[in-house]
Amino acid sequence: MIENIRLSFKGIFSHKIRSLLTMLGIIIGIAAIIAIVSTIKGTNEQIKNNLIGAGNNTVKIQLSDGDTVCDFSWENPPKNVSMFTESTKKRINELKEVESCTFYRTRNNPDNLFYLNSKIDSATIYGIDKDYFETAGYEIVEGKGFSDRNFTNFDKVVIVDKTLAEGIFEGESPVGKILEISGEPFTIIGMTVQNTVFEPVINSVDDFYTYNQTSSGLIFMPTNDWGIVFRYDEPENCIAKAVDTDAMTNAGKKTADILNESITKESAGGEETSATVEYKSESLLEQAKSLQDLSSSTNNMLIWIASISLLVGGIGVMNIMLVSVTERTREIGLKKALGARKRRILAQFLTEAAVLTSIGGIIGVLTGIGLSQIIAKVAEVPVAISTPSIVISVIFSMVVGIVFGLIPSIKAARLNPIDALRYE
């Protein structure tokens, strides 16, 4: 076998141009496949990153009316939604898909937010429980976080994020500054940043809307303080952190089911009841999936086209191998006269075909990697080289060699030694 491989290399290198031309179909096919697969993978990863954030695995479960998330800055909270309790949280945490969860309330761009008499226009206020930073992936970079006493004492303290701090305090430390919310003074005790390495690429208007809310400043206060500045009975929302990305959809659905138990369906006679509100998990993962499916289905067609190139390459290999068998009829006859069995001749030619196409496959992989780098530069599309696709490509080209080398090899093995020796 090793002898066969050595001989194959010798044969291939003694006919460099011919071997290269034979391999061309394989090279083009494999290069195209590698480039396409890399682009698909790159696009998919981009979609996933853009929509769900790199590796954070959190799902928001928000109180929604129909398809819109309830926003209590201008509507009154429905009466049939009761507040969450510690046991609600415990049950969610016990779900096998969920690693941890947190409850929070938000208010977008409130009109009662001031610093030194000037109104802060774009900011979102969060009322959070003590699990929020941990679960949603924030870390305190300056000052300190909330203590248990801050919650129980209704301390008027807030933590701001870096965006807000940079916007308002212009390089000064926010810690110790006082914000006025709804006429009440709140002391800033810390600054936080989201610790995911998530840097969204803004390519379209949709992307912009997806990210613009994260680009406005955030203010976090203990959820117990919510009643001081807003309404004490506003329902909370939930963020569940799934154990992994694949568990996100289920984690979101099951959490929503538990949260919906806090909604009484029959209206208790109050005029504020709404039968249509319910907790819904955001379906970012599904959106990502369907976008990815779309991008791969268009690219699957390209892969089929590339496969045809491989098929043509395979036929080219068969053709050259048949020529090679005819050219080497004498050699085959001699080997048979010297005692080489059919199996050995068969193996020799199969090895040669497989080595030829494998080299073609390897060159194709290298070309494909180069090609995807060029695509990345020119078309500004992200690419990600996938190792399995490289391994599969090389194995596949080897298989192409064996399949298309089979007919010529059988022809060689079946040659009658006297006819072969007589052949001029």
């Binding site: 002898e3 010798k10 044969g11 003694s14 004498r330 050699e331 001699l334 080997k335 048979k336 006269a337 010297l338 005692g339 080489a340 069995r341 059919k342 050995r344 030694p417 006297i418 020796l421």
Partner: protein
Amino acid sequence: MVFELKNIYKDYIQGREPVPVLKDISLSVEEGEYVAIMGPSGSGKSTLMNIIGCLDKQTKGSFIFDGADIMSANDKKLSDIRNKKIGFVFQNFNLLPRQSALENVELPLLYAGVSKKVRREKAIAALKRVGLAERMSFKPTQLSGGQKQRVAIARAIVNHPKLLLADEPTGALDTKSGDQVMELFKELNDDGVTIVMITHEPDIAKCAKRIMYIRDGELYKERTGEKE
């Protein structure tokens, strides 16, 4: 006894008609013999050699080689016999052009499954035997006709076969190299190697201890003598 042909016939199918090429040939060769088979071109010499060399099968008759019935042997068995018991020398040498002299001589040992080290040793010994040890790394194109034929002889004897079978071994050589090859054959025969040589040159045939004549597919003891 090395082999025995009894009432061998060989037909080639040409169009629809079978054309008889060998007719009722009987020949047995003992160990240590040196037999020349002479005849004009087209008389069936090569056809006979192919049968003796287990490369082809007779149409009719029995052929026993070293105790084995060849007619009923399969490809594997025939390959083994050719590999271990017969050494071929062809008119046009039939060396693999891209391989060195040494690698060419190693071929039969490779097919016999001999380890690389032993292969090398035996091939070098065979090349020494034909006086070409110092040219073992040369490619066939770097060798003269006589040297190529001596490499081919080394390849034929490397497995210590029961029979050395030569088809016009001097046909492509000048007189001097031809004489060298004949000298080598004589030495090998003196060492006990059985040789069957096919030729159409009387001078070459004379080197053998026994001469048979073939004409129109029939074998004779004498140039024009009665049928054997």
